[in-house]
């Protein structure tokens, strides 16, 4: 159960984290 829980959170978390990182890179131009 714990392994499934971690796997699921990784499956949704990794794309979300990637999206946030890509957007943050763009957002940093505001301060650069």
């Amino acid at each position: 159960m714990r392994g499934r829980l971690i796997l699921l959170w990784l499956l949704v978390g990794i794309p979300l984290l990637w999206g946030v990182t890509e957007t943050l890179k763009k957002a940093l131009k505001l301060f650069g």
Binding site: L16, W18, G19, T23, A27, K29
Partner: protein
């Protein structure tokens, strides 16, 4: 066999199930349908379908293409309202599956529209079919999450609805990467990108379909007991969807959501030109794009932050903060512009956008407080028509009032000041409605079994 797997009775969680498996299932759906906010990424490439490198006679124009997004958002609200009761009846798995078929099918039909260069197929595909996927997908996990987390309904629904905000953050760079990958000398790669995204999103939404579970009747979190004396504005009973939408509370919440969303949409639609014109010479087009990105991140983060906070300070107090702080910030923005302070200006707007997202994410828990859990998904669906209305009202208010002022000689930088004061007016209306909110009269409560 497939239909039995999708039925509600096959989704009841066995004893000992972990309730934290359900939020990622909801996120899997919301992260996909949130793509709609990044649809504008396709607009410019779609204007060059015949010319490839530039628009030629016969190519679609931006005005025509703008309707695809507008239809999708309008159908989102309508389908959530129409299918809300069905979603409650069939349960989250079948409704998530239907949402996946509609949303991915929308991409496929649109791909055919691109292939045959028929714009009406994009309206029908992404707009109508995809819009149905958006509406059904948006509400499908809401009541399930509220039932799994009776102790923290705000946090639970906030997590899912945060996914809708996060979906755009994924879809925008993903679309660009795919279009670049499929681009050739004779094609912009949009058709192939639509097909690929349709497949990817269908598979990702299936994660939610396979994982989602509803709690067994009478299930409660270990160690949690409902408060003996319900707090003010939190009903101990249930109100059916057919009764709920006839109560003043429903329409107060409708106006509250509509005002909060209208004010936020007004900012989102004008963010990039606004910061460039107010800080002319200080903020470049690239930096303005960064500003829009920053707003998207706070829009997403605000959903989980404010919805979780509402579990502690109460739903009405959370909206009081949105409206009061919003009024202060919107009315201060013109002064910050005159002062030339980019940092303070940006700070004000990221807080405003966090409250815009927070408004969406907190409303399901507010509905649960007022109407109970029985039909909260269906009631939420009907309330989302406020979003459709705001989607029209926000940009119209901003664009037309601004154009009117500029036509009458008001300098561009000052025209935003008046817009901000109008947004304050909208928030005052929302504040009054929120202040007027009272518990539903006992005579409206459902007398039968709540296990619908």
């Amino acid at each position: 066999m497939a239909s039995s797997f999708l039925d509600r009775e096959h989704t009841v969680a066995p004893p000992g199930s972990n309730r934290y498996l359900v939020p990622p299932a909801a996120l899997a759906v919301h992260l996909c349908i949130g793509q709609v906010y990044a649809f504008s990424t396709f607009n410019l490439p779609l204007t060059k379908m015949l010319g490839t490198t530039q628009s030629v006679p016969g190519d679609w124009n931006l005005k025509e293409l703008g309707w695809i997004f507008s239809i999708a958002i309008a159908i989102l609200g309508i389908s959530a309202a129409v299918f809300g009761r069905w979603v409650e009846t069939v349960g989250p798995r079948k409704s998530m599956f239907t949402a996946a078929v509609c949303f991915s099918g929308g991409f496929m039909v649109s791909a055919l529209g691109i292939h045959w260069h028929q714009l009406w197929l994009l309206y029908l595909g992404y707009g109508v079919l995809g819009g149905c996927g958006l509406g059904i997908g948006y509400i499908s996990p809401v009541s399930t999450l509220i039932k799994w987390f009776p102790d923290r309904p705000g946090m639970a629904t906030g997590m899912a609805i945060m996914g809708f905000g996060g979906g755009a953050l994924i879809a925008a760079p993903l679309s660009v990467i795919l279009m670049t990958h499929f681009k050739t000398a004779t094609s912009g790669g949009v058709l192939e990108t639509f097909v690929t995204m349709g497949v990817i999103y269908f598979m990702f939404m299936m994660i939610g379909v396979y994982t989602v579970r509803v709690p067994a009747p009478g299930w409660k979190p270990a160690g949690w007991t409902p408060p003996a004396v319900p707090k003010t504005l939190i009903t101990a009973g249930n109100v059916s969807v057919d009764v709920a939408w006839r109560t003043p509370q429903f329409w107060l919440l409708w106006v509250i959501l509509c005002m909060n969303v209208t004010a936020g949409i007004g900012v989102i639609s004008q963010a990039s030109p606004m910061i460039q014109e107010i800080f002319a010479g200080k903020v470049s087009a690239d930096a303005a794009a960064g500003f829009v990105g920053l707003l998207s991140i706070f829009n997403m983060a605000g959903r989980i932050f404010w919805a979780s906070t509402s579990d502690y300070i109460g739903r009405r107090n959370t909206y009081m903060v949105f409206f009061l702080l919003g009024i202060v910030l919107y009315s201060t923005v013109p002064t910050l512009g005159h002062l030339g302070s980019v940092a303070l200006f940006v700070t004000a707007f990221v807080i405003i956008l966090s409250m815009y997202g927070g408004g969406f994410a907190t409303i399901p828990a507010y509905l649960r407080d007022i109407f109970g859990t029985m039909h909260v998904g269906a009631i939420h669906g009907r309330l989302l028509t406020a979003w459709s209305a705001a989607g029209v009202l926000g940009p119209v208010l901003i664009n037309y009032i601004r154009a009117y002022q500029i036509d009458h000689g008001v300098p561009k930088t000052q025209s935003y000041s008046i817009t901000m004061y109008i947004m304050c007016g909208l928030l005052v209306v929302g504040l009054i409605c929120n202040f007027a909110m009272r518990a539903v009269d006992d005579s409206r409560l459902y007398r039968g079994s709540a296990q619908s």
